[in-house]
Point group: D2
Chain length 337, copies 4
């Protein structure tokens, strides 16, 4: 539902090619009646795309037709649609921020208005398979993480869990491609405004902070406050997150390679670059991988983590399909490699 944006388009692309999925509907009020193939010319060769039209079905109808529903709707609208879908028995993967924050108070603080469906907050599972794989399998409602949180939480998780780093020192500088802003028709995202431009934004309190800190608190079992600065850079897709942490004072020897291999050695979508290579968005764009590297800086006693993802794939639609695979008992990589 809400298939007209960049994450919606990417979902359609992945689902059409997915060996175990039958796409029954793609909704968009604005595009209703148009063929998928006409709206997304990349898919013009696809049989289903040349026969399936965008619909303006409501949640009830979708709930009757589909077992799995992806919501690629604006924040706020998603939770409205989730209720009737869940009631109709559908399993829902929401790509908006609506169900990511467990606390209605934190939601209000960061999003500036009351949460529209606070009763559902407790039922949602945070859709980061590397952390919540088992819960996702059985979930009715999955809150798919934001792109920045994905790129930050995966590298931080094994270190925070083991208390290997001083949690008060976490600081993240991220660089994102412009598709991260969605298909918003605003002057700030015009080609001539973004091309040959690099700029910080959302300083100091970006909305994604709320879900990052929530998840770090769960991992650390203590409140964690981090510094986070996103920057807009002129690429279509891709996020680099460079994460600075101070090694905890009581940790004498730390071998990040051992920690990361232990945590992610078997993960299908985490690629550990280790100490010799550095991430580059061009190696992950179009894929569901997250590349993770690290360096210990002996001069500063800091451990620097660096990650790269495609913000639309591992940062949104690909990860949502990875969750769906888990929910349906399919191979986790189905349709994604």
């Amino acid at each position: 539902m809400g298939a007209s944006g960049y994450t919606g388009e990417e979902l359609v692309r992945i689902l059409l090619a997915h060996p175990n999925v039958d796409l029954v509907a793609a909704t968009s009020r604005q595009l209703a009646g148009k063929l998928l193939a006409d709206v997304f010319p990349r898919l013009a060769h696809d049989k289903k795309a040349t026969s399936l039209k965008f619909s303006d079905w409501d949640a009830k109808q979708i709930g009757r037709e589909a077992n799995i529903v992806f919501l690629a709707l604006p924040h706020g609208l998603a939770s409205e649609f989730a209720k009737p879908l869940l009631s109709a028995g559908a399993r829902v993967l929401d790509l908006s921020a609506d169900f990511r924050i467990k606390s209605a108070d934190v939601y209000r603080d960061f999003y500036g208005h009351e949460h529209p469906a606070p009763d559902l907050l407790g039922r949602s599972v945070y859709g980061l398979p590397e952390i919540y794989r088992d819960q996702i399998r059985d979930a009715q409602l999955v809150a798919c993480p934001g792109c920045y949180p994905t790129s930050i939480l995966i590298p931080l998780r094994p270190l925070v869990r083991r208390k290997a780093i001083d949690r008060s020192t976490i600081l993240v500088a991220s660089m994102s491609g412009v598709s991260g802003a969605g298909r918003k028709v605003e002057a700030d995202y015009l080609f001539s405004e973004c091309n040959e431009s690099v700029r910080p934004y959302g300083v100091p309190k970006h909305r994604h902070l709320s879900e990052i800190e929530q998840e770090l608190l769960i991992l650390a079992d203590e409140k964690v406050v981090i510094q986070f600065t996103p920057h807009l850079v002129p690429v279509n897709r891709g996020i680099i997150s460079t994460i600075y942490t101070t090694i905890a004072s009581n940790v004498v020897n730390i071998d990040p390679a051992v920690i990361f291999n232990g945590a992610y050695g078997e993960e299908p979508f985490v690629r550990l670059l280790g100490e010799n290579r550095l991430p580059d968005t061009k190696h992950v764009v179009g894929t569901n991988f997250i590349d993770v590297a690290w360096r210990i800086d002996k001069r500063t006693h800091r451990l620097v983590l660096m990650s790269a993802i495609d913000n639309i794939v591992k940062g949104a639609s690909g990860q949502a399909v990875q969750c769906m695979n888990l929910m349906l008992g399919l191979p986790e990589t189905a349709g994604l490699i």
Copy 2:
């Protein structure tokens, strides 16, 4: 001397248009005999560029012909040329790293070989007018700062000098356009490798750290060790530096606006964006300005500074001309606005 690279080309461009300068020579072994206008088609309309040819004059000859000599040569080579030039009475502005580091030991540590002219180190002045204006006026040898140091030292200086921030907490994430790598013909800088790519590099010990820490030590009167990560982003020109600092624990009230206005209110090339605007490389590219913004993050007690410069202008050739203006007693902005 060494006018074939990006900083050399920019110097030629600025000097040809400078109202008080007569460009007598531009040297390049490789391009000797070619007209400036043929090598730099942007300058094809300029009278001087259509008559002046690249020469392969040696330092002695240049020293006889010119009062002011800019060295846009590779590190190591610059110091070789500086000696005879200074002996011949020329005043020298060196854009390489050769004379930036006062300590031959630090130089060896960061550059991996002995300094070629340690006796000259004491004579050079660090060419950052916002800090060393008076010394530059009388200097025989100016060591023009690196692009990253320029973008970092100017925002940090007033805070470090007043000890308003905890000097052990300084951390910098910078993003640079590809021209920062110079006109190096290496696979890493091919269009198809840089376009649609964002990547950290030089982690954790970039060479520019040495001059940044040297200058911070002088400002703070104490050793300062900082964290610094450069990233390569697909723009031709421009650097964003996002600088994180923790406000010193003994500082109760801090008003960065007052501090920055006090320090830079009269500076011709420092534009203070204050707390409402954020820097964007596109507003400084092609100019000698540095735009500086700041935000206090109450959640983390950090002061975040952000700056934007053109790495080839304020980060190299423009700043060198600004220094030259000071040395010659010209208006500081001559040829630059």
Copy 3:
């Protein structure tokens, strides 16, 4: 008037730095009351920009205050404003298409509606100094050419005038940067839609055809119908026009170098690249130059012309200022080199 778009912004930039101009007003309904320096951060250092605010003055008031008025308004609106300005005695340079077409019929055919001020059509001079220099000097109303026509008419003019080419064979493929679309907030011009995209548009009947063919008719003294295809390419600024012509059958020997040198050898903004070099937008961006090259293809008996301009400067605002210089009896290059 209408200073909020890309051509308006560029006009403001050029006029603020122009040695003979005093900018008395910049109008924009939408931005009225805001400082120029706040809207255009590139100009934040400029004294006038930090004191002059956008106004919503009407044409009458502008006509009283200004001797010269630039209209950077949407097509249709410009002619509405021109009347009272001219009545008030101001001299007007219009950057819209309103006064470019001499024939109200052709205007209707290409623009789809009646011309709003047909009585003024006869009074306007086409603002291409390389063709209409003398008429521009005395003009009250100058219709500044479109960017594509500028890039096409200058190379074609000396050949068409001499009937050196078969006028039925003219065919143009142009490539334009995205700023050519103006600051239009439309999905087609979002960064993620233009970056990594190359596309033809406006096929087969682009509006600029009307003024190109009108001017060719005047030059050839015969009706000329040309083929013209514009393409959008992911650069901010710049147009390449590659123009194909068949050498007229009665022309035995043709030496384009002689023809072009004869026509443009003294032109301050035409740079002839001749037969050894090819144009590149990067050499003209930010300047008022047009670079022109040519090749005779012996295999096909065609003469291929290639030109490069900055669509916002020589293709719009720079050329308008060049016209203004002529109108005011200033050096033609004042404020432009």
Copy 4:
């Protein structure tokens, strides 16, 4: 063989994911001994890529191990390798220009030196499945077409064959991404030289002309001389070819839709955009499709054709795999959709 360039890398990527292929070797003198996964970080997750190393096997050894050999070697070198491979019984797909030209004289004229293996010229099949599908099935040696020829020949073929257009009027303006130059480490292809740059090159006699005209001659059964101008535009991948033709004077009614549907309605990789849509490289990049559109210009009696391909996929490696599928009796789209 020669897997280190962009076409080689793309071949490796496609072949590793191809359901019917077992990649036994990838050769590169320079990279011998390195894991594919280390050289191509995009493939770091692939099992084969993490175990297979680049080898420096000679043609003989490859001929023994492989049934199918792709040559992604520089022009000239490819024909040297082809001989022993063919002798050893391997079937060869050559991506260089070595076997595209049937005439050793034309080869000498365009490539400037004698053909190194003229005896093999007669044995090669031009690897454009849309024209030579049947011959490719049985070929021992396939000469894969250049990227420009692919983008030009497919749209022209049905019109030339039917003599629907005047063959003396064909004129092509193409725009290519920078990967078309290969992984050549030359200053011209540095990021800072290509970004924000648009430029024609290879005017007037580009090498690809030879194979385009050869194939048009075969289709038309008459000599065809065309005009062709390539332009370099700042995208990684993609070619737009805009092709101008005059409708033959004896053709009264022409319906391109009928012609194109007749010719390509069943083609798996030709997508006909018809008269309502225009091609855009972003819709084909990463795919083996060619998108084709057309417009009749009633003002000029010309038929304008426009095509878009990914120069590395349909223009090189994807098309080579399409040919391999035919040679092996596999579904033509295997590994490609």
